[in-house]
């Protein structure tokens, strides 16, 4: 894929995700990567997150989110490729 390719993935996060710090943390981290990170659904144990941007940065978002703030535990992340534009 060329260097300005982008893709959009739906992340399904599972774990102990209820802490109020989590959604603002996600927004900040997406901003720091310069990509779109929109939460489409959120509950105490599951969060759906639409992530759009260059593939390497979407990977970076997954890594960052897998850690998140200290009061959150992300047990697993399922990724589903919705769209990719070479």
């Amino acid at each position: 894929m060329s260097s300005n390719a982008t893709c959009s993935d739906m992340f399904t996060l599972r774990g102990d995700l209820g802490a109020p710090s989590f959604l603002p943390w996600i927004a900040r981290h997406a901003g720091r990567l310069g990509i779109i990170g929109r939460v489409t659904a959120a509950s105490a144990d599951e969060v759906s997150l639409l992530v759009e941007g260059p593939p390497d940065l979407v990977d970076a978002m997954e890594l960052g989110v897998s850690l998140g703030p200290i009061d959150v535990w992300v047990e697993s992340i399922k990724r589903e490729r919705l769209l990719s534009r070479p």
């Binding site: 970076a60 890594l63 897998s66 850690l67 703030p69 200290i70 535990w73």
Partner: protein
């Protein structure tokens, strides 16, 4: 003394062949301890209040714990494999978190810049995708299928080769590296980093190796590894924050940092926070 799950783990505190009866005073997680040997040469470790601590003698080093470990010291089968040279590299003191020292050892993207023309060189800087998992059955972090082009991968390597690596974290402050062994294709050279947590921002690193290499003199093997580690020290003592952030709020991990992220997740899950920073600075 801090009460953390890390208390009940094994930590390296000395080299077996260098013990004396009088012993040497050192620090373990903020507590003063003395590392000595008895009249038969067996290691004895005592704490500040005089109590003797549990001891294991393994992989050329003395291991002890301030708490009561629930499991035995991790295993390195290769250590008992005939034909390997076992190398006690020595000790390097580093003013950084013991967890930062381990994280640095799990990273290959820095080879071309920190270990230039030895473990890596420009323009061979790309980090190919590799695999990382926490192996539940042994509760260890493993990175596999790691490949990197290296100008001089080991003393025994003649020229530049694409080196295969595996990384393993069997304990909070121990990292083991398995790398392609030039003279013995199909076998792995074993290079380990045993880290003694002296304080949350101070540690001593005891590298140890089990190699197939019959040509290189022992002193060259030791100097090669010490030089590599001294190059790392100038990095480790200039990273902000000094403790290891478990929340990457001030950092930008990319795919090349996958092993570091898995290590931090593993620490977070176990509550291994001695030397960690919980909230992003």
């Amino acid at each position: 003394m801090t009460d953390t799950p890390m208390l009940n783990e094994w930590y390296p505190v000395g080299i077996l062949t260098q013990l004396t009866k009088a012993g040497r005073d050192t620090l373990l997680m903020g507590e003063a301890i003395n590392v000595a040997c008895d009249s038969l040469g067996a290691p004895v470790v005592s704490a500040e209040d005089g109590r003797t601590l549990p001891v294991r003698a393994r992989y050329g080093h003395v291991w002890t714990s301030l708490g009561s470990p629930t499991k035995e010291l991790f295993d390195i089968p290769e250590a008992d494999q005939p034909g390997r040279r076992l190398v006690d590299v020595g000790v390097v003191r580093v003013k950084c978190s013991p967890l930062r020292a381990v994280e640095n050892f799990l990273d290959i993207a820095h080879f071309p810049f920190v270990h230039t023309d030895i473990l890596g060189a420009e323009p061979h800087t790309e980090v190919q995708r590799y695999e990382v998992q926490i192996r539940e059955e042994v509760d260890e972090v493993w990175a596999t299928k790691v490949k990197f082009y290296q100008p001089q991968a080991a003393k025994s390597a003649a020229g530049g080769i694409t080196t295969d690596y595996m990384y393993r974290v069997p304990a909070p402050t121990v990292s083991i590296l398995y790398k392609t062994c030039p003279p013995r294709p199909g076998e792995w050279d074993v290079i380990t980093l045993f880290v003694q947590p002296m304080a949350e921002d101070l540690c001593q690193v005891w590298p140890w190796m089990a190699l197939f290499d019959d040509q290189t003199p022992m002193t060259d093997l030791i100097h090669f590894q010490q030089m590599i580690f001294l190059q790392d020290r100038s990095i480790l003592e200039n990273q902000l924050p000094r403790l290891l952030p478990l929340d990457p709020g001030m950092e930008i991990p990319t795919r090349a940092d996958m092993t570091s992220v898995a290590y931090r997740r593993w620490l977070k899950r176990h509550g291994f926070t001695y030397g960690a920073q919980l909230v992003a600075a």
